[in-house]
C-alpha cells in the first residue's frame, strides 16, 4: 500500500453571490495516494474544477474555504508550479498570445530551479522534446498561434511540468480537442507519469476516458463527492445511482474507442 500524498478533509468552498451563498464544494473528503492516477469525474458545475484549483492553491480571493487540505506526502505546503503542475482545458487561452513558447515553457523552471535565461531555454528545449513537439529548438521563438490545438496543449503540459512537480493536475485537459488528439494527449499524460514518478489527477466529464486511464475514480455531482474507489469496481459495480446513470449514458453513446476500456488495470 502506497502512502497518502494528500488528505482532503471535509473541504467546502463557498462563493458569495447576490443570490446568496453558492457552494462550489460541499464537505468533500478524499485521499490522494502518491504515484496513483486519480480520475475526478463529474458534469460541469459538479465542483471538480474547484477541487483542482483548491489543490493548487489558486482559488480566487473571494472564495470562502472550510475544512482542510493537508499534504502528509510532502510534509510541507506544496508550492504551485514547483510541487504541483496544472494543465487547463483550453490551450488556446491558457497560453499567453504575445509571449514566445520558450519564455512560457522555461519561466517556471527559471523561477523554481534557479536557472538563468540560457539554462531555462535549454530546459525548455528538453521539455518540448519530452512532450514530442517536433523541432523543439525552432519552437522556442515561435508564438502560440503558430501551433495546432493539440500541439498547444502539449506545450501547456511542458510548461506545467517544467519545474519537475510531483503532482500533475489535468483539468479537462483533453475536452477541447478532437478525439484523435484527445487520445494522443491522454497517452502523453500516461507516459509522463510512467516515466517520472508523478501523481496524476485527471479531471474530466468523460467517464470512459477516466476508466481507461485511472487507477481510482472519484465521482462528483453538484458540489459533492458521490463515491470514490478503485476504477474497476466503480465501472463494474457502481454503488451510487448517479454513477450508474453516467455509465449508462456513456455506453449508450459509445463510439469505437481509441483507448479501450480493457486497457484499464
Amino acid at each position: 500500500m502506497r502512502s497518502v500524498l494528500c488528505k482532503v478533509d471535509r473541504l467546502s468552498v463557498v462563493y458569495r453571490t447576490k443570490a446568496g451563498a453558492q457552494h462550489a464544494l460541499r464537505s468533500v473528503s478524499l485521499d490522494i495516494v502518491a504515484g496513483e492516477k486519480l480520475a475526478v469525474i463529474g458534469e460541469s458545475g459538479s465542483g471538480k474544477s474547484t477541487l483542482s484549483l483548491a489543490l493548487t492553491g489558486l482559488l480566487p480571493e473571494e472564495a470562502l474555504v472550510e475544512g482542510s487540505i493537508s499534504w502528509p506526502g510532502f510534509g510541507f505546503d506544496p508550492v504551485a508550479g514547483r510541487d504541483i503542475g496544472i494543465v487547463f482545458q483550453d490551450p488556446g487561452s491558457s497560453l499567453n498570445p504575445v509571449l514566445t513558447i520558450g519564455d512560457q515553457v522555461g519561466e517556471g523552471a527559471g523561477r523554481h530551479l534557479g536557472l538563468d535565461r540560457r539554462a531555462a531555454r535549454e530546459k525548455a528545449v528538453e521539455l518540448l522534446a519530452r512532450v514530442r513537439i517536433p523541432q523543439p529548438e525552432n519552437a522556442l521563438g515561435a508564438y502560440p498561434h503558430q501551433f495546432s490545438g493539440g500541439q498547444r496543449q502539449r506545450i501547456a503540459i511542458a510548461a506545467a511540468i517544467a519545474a519537475g512537480p510531483s503532482v500533475l493536475i489535468a483539468d479537462e485537459a483533453t475536452s477541447a480537442l478532437d478525439t484523435i488528439v484527445q487520445a494522443e494527449i491522454s497517452t502523453l499524460l500516461e507516459d509522463l507519469v510512467k516515466n517520472g514518478d508523478m501523481t496524476l489527477i485527471f479531471v474530466t466529464h468523460d467517464i470512459g476516458l477516466a476508466a481507461s486511464l485511472a487507477d481510482r475514480i472519484a465521482v462528483f455531482r453538484t458540489a459533492e463527492l458521490v463515491e470514490s474507489g478503485d476504477a474497476q469496481s466503480i465501472v463494474h459495480e457502481p454503488q451510487a445511482e448517479y454513477t450508474r446513470q453516467l455509465l449508462a449514458t456513456h455506453i449508450d453513446l459509445e463510439s469505437p474507442r481509441l483507448v479501450g476500456v480493457s486497457d484499464a488495470r
Binding site: T56, L58, V79, A80, G81, R82, I84, G85, I86, F88, D90, S93, S94, L95, N96, P97, V98, L99, D103, E107, G108, R111, H112, I133, P134, Q135, N138, A139, A142, Y143, H145, Q146, F147, S148, Q151, A156, A159, A160, A162, A163
Partner: protein, 330 residues
C-alpha cells in the same frame, strides 16, 4: 517579406483615396467661403484697385472654373507645391517646414510623457484592483481627463511662471540669447515643460484609464491563471503576462488620438505663443489666409496617416498574431 512591411504597404495604398477625399473636402469647404484669396490679400495690403485684383486673379488662376482650379491645386500638390501664403507672403511649404519641428517636438514629448507615465500608473492601479491607490488614481485621472488643455496651461503658467518663477511663460526659446548646442537644447526643453504638460496630461489620464481597464480584463484570462499556477512572482505576472497584453489597445489608441492631439496643439501653441504648425492654423484663420488653412488641414491629414503607419508597425512588433498566417512547425 517581413509582415510589418506588408502591412505598411497595404496601409499606404489604402490611404491614397482617403487623402483624396480630404483634399476634395477641404477644397469644397474653401469654395464656400465668401471672397477669395485675392480679396484677403488686398485687405492685408490695405486695399487696392480692381485692376490689380483682376491681374492677381488671373495669375493665380482664380478666374477659372472651380473644376479647373481644383485640377490646378491637385497638380501643384503633387509637385509638393502647397501654394502661396497671403499673410507670410512666402511659399506655404517653407512656412510649414519651418514650423513643423516645434510641433513635432511638442507632440512627441507629450505623447512620450502620456504613454509612459499613463501606462505605468495604469499598471500600478491595475495591479491591485480596488485598492486605495487604485481608487485615488482612478478618480484623479477622471478629473484630469476633464481638464481643458488650454486652461491647464494657464493654471500651470500661474503656478510655475508667475508665482514660483521656475519656468518661462511663453515662446520656444529665449530670444537672442546667443545660446548654442546643449545650452540651447536645455533652454528649449525648459520652454517646453509647461506646454508638454498642458497638452499631454489629458492623454496621460486617458492612457491610465485604458491601461487600468485593460489590466482588469487581462487578469481574468486563463493564461494569467496558468501563470499563477506556475508559481511565478507577482511582479513577473503583472509585467510579463498582464501588462504586455493590456498595452496593446493603448498602442491602437495612440494612432486614434494622433489627430485629436494635433488639434490640441493648435490651442496650446497659442496659449504659450509657440511658433509651431498648430499655431499656423489659428494665424491662417485670423488672417483669412485660405490657401494656408487648406495646406494646414492637408498636411495634418498626412501627418496623421504617417503616425498611424508607425503605430501599425509598433503594433505588429508587439503582437505576433498580426499579419501572420504561416504555421511554424507543420
Amino acid at each position: 517579406m517581413h509582415r510589418a512591411w506588408r502591412l505598411t504597404k497595404r496601409r499606404l495604398i489604402a490611404s491614397i483615396p482617403v487623402l483624396a477625399i480630404v483634399i476634395l473636402g477641404t477644397f469644397l469647404l474653401m469654395e464656400l467661403a465668401p471672397g477669395d484669396a485675392v480679396d484677403a490679400y488686398l485687405v492685408s495690403l490695405g486695399g487696392g484697385d480692381s485692376g490689380l485684383a483682376e491681374d492677381l486673379r488671373q495669375s493665380y488662376g482664380l478666374d477659372q472654373s472651380a473644376l479647373s482650379r481644383l485640377w490646378l491645386y491637385v497638380s501643384s500638390l503633387a509637385r509638393l507645391d502647397l501654394g502661396w501664403s497671403i499673410i507670410f507672403n512666402r511659399p506655404i511649404l517653407d512656412v510649414v517646414l519651418e514650423r513643423l519641428p516645434n510641433t513635432l517636438w511638442l507632440m512627441g514629448s507629450a505623447t512620450a510623457l502620456a504613454f509612459t507615465l499613463g501606462s505605468l500608473l495604469g499598471i500600478v492601479a491595475g495591479a491591485r484592483p480596488g485598492s486605495a491607490l487604485d481608487r485615488v488614481l482612478s478618480i484623479g485621472s477622471l478629473t484630469l481627463y476633464a481638464v481643458p488643455g488650454f486652461w491647464l496651461g494657464l493654471v500651470l503658467i500661474l503656478v510655475f511662471s508667475v508665482q514660483l518663477r521656475w519656468l518661462p511663460t511663453s515662446g520656444i526659446e529665449t530670444i537672442a540669447s546667443g545660446k548654442a548646442g546643449i545650452a540651447r537644447a536645455l533652454d528649449i526643453a525648459r520652454h517646453l515643460v509647461l506646454p508638454v504638460a498642458s497638452l499631454g496630461f489629458i492623454y496621460l489620464a486617458l492612457f491610465l484609464r485604458m491601461m487600468r481597464a485593460g489590466m482588469g480584463e487581462v487578469w481574468r484570462q486563463d493564461f494569467v491563471l496558468a501563470a499563477k499556477a506556475k508559481g511565478l512572482s507577482r511582479w513577473r505576472i503583472v509585467v510579463h503576462h498582464v501588462a504586455r497584453n493590456a498595452l496593446l489597445p493603448l498602442v491602437t489608441m495612440l494612432g486614434l488620438q494622433a489627430a485629436t492631439m494635433l488639434g490640441g496643439s493648435v490651442v496650446i501653441e497659442s496659449v504659450f505663443a509657440i511658433p509651431g504648425f498648430g499655431r499656423l492654423a489659428q494665424e491662417a484663420v485670423a488672417g483669412r489666409d485660405a490657401p494656408l488653412l487648406m495646406a494646414v488641414i492637408i498636411v495634418s491629414a498626412v501627418l496623421v496617416i504617417i503616425v498611424n503607419l508607425l503605430v501599425d508597425i509598433a503594433y505588429a512588433w508587439l503582437d505576433p498574431r498580426v499579419g501572420s498566417s504561416e504555421v511554424a512547425s507543420k
